[in-house]
């Protein structure tokens, strides 16, 4: 039987954003996005959990080297997102609303191609401790 183990690494970043769809009227934006539409934006301490899966390498006992995963998250996600205004500074959100859903998808697209040994299983993004989104890749 294959010993597939799932490994989850957490990371944190803080960022600001605003929810605004330019194709909607001011009134519609307010109705859809509520406080998140406040014009000067607002911020969150996001918590990211990235889960990878793979077989345990009998030589090392690892699914993958955690340090490499940490480096990928740092380089691909934290450097781009941490202490940034997502709408203004992260290219994915130039034409897309930086909802937690879209953030999770963007992180998946950044991280998945960089993993060599294990494969990405899930990206979980907590916007607040009470709200999180899971993305498992394209169905």
């Amino acid at each position: 039987m294959k010993k597939t183990v799932y490994l989850t690494r957490k990371a944190e970043f803080s960022a600001s954003h605003v929810y605004h769809n330019p194709t909607l009227s001011a009134e519609e934006n307010r109705a859809v996005f509520g406080k998140c539409n406040n014009p000067h934006g607002h911020g969150h301490n996001y918590v990211l959990e990235v889960t990878v899966k793979g077989e345990v390498d009998p030589r090392t006992g690892f699914v993958l080297d955690l340090k490499q995963l940490k480096d990928v998250l740092h380089r691909e996600v934290l450097e781009a997102f941490d202490h940034r205004h997502l709408n203004l500074e992260v290219p994915e959100f130039k034409n897309q609303i930086p909802t937690t859903e879209n953030i999770a998808i963007a992180i998946w697209k950044r991280v998945a191609p960089k993993l060599k040994v294990a494969s990405l299983h899930r990206v979980r993004v907590f916007e607040t401790p009470d709200l999180f989104v899971d993305f498992y890749g394209e169905e």
């Binding site: 010993k3 183990v5 490994l7 030589r59 090392t60």
Partner: protein
């Protein structure tokens, strides 16, 4: 009616990640600080998920005391305040948290028969966790 029940436990143990068949340099490159010669320790948090039909008479999947008893005897007594490298379980395996997670799953599958052991999740630190549910099937 099938339900899933998860119970959380804690134990503390020391380990050192070191593969005798690798050179000193390779060990250092693979395991980094975890290869420090005298070992180090963690406070592990263990989550055991079991499933089963809800008993019409008791309203329970299984009696938590029974689960606690088996986890105490098979896992906590074996691993708590131990040096994992010195245990027979790790005589031929590196005590990574991947391997520890698989061992705990196997021990509970063999010894807890009052409900189906579905998944074992092991937190090594607040930032890392590992999961094993047997083979390639995720429940």
């Amino acid at each position: 009616m099938k339900a899933y029940l998860t119970r959380r436990y804690r134990f503390s143990a020391a380990h050192r990640l070191h593969n005798e068949s690798m050179s000193e340099r390779e060990n250092r490159a693979t395991y980094g600080k975890c290869n420090n010669p005298y070992g180090h320790g963690h406070n592990y948090a263990l989550e055991v998920t079991v499933s089963g039909q809800v008993d019409g008479r008791t309203g329970m999947v299984c009696n938590l005391e029974d689960l606690d008893g088996v986890v105490e005897r098979e896992v906590l007594e074996r691993f708590d305040h131990s040096n994992l490298n010195c245990l027979p379980e790790f005589a031929r395996e590196i005590p990574t948290t991947e391997n520890l997670c698989v061992q705990i799953y196997d021990l509970l599958r063999q010894n807890f028969v009052l409900a189906q052991v579905e998944n074992v999740r092991l937190e090594e630190t607040m930032m890392n966790s590992f999961e094993y549910g047997g083979g390639d099937v995720r429940h």
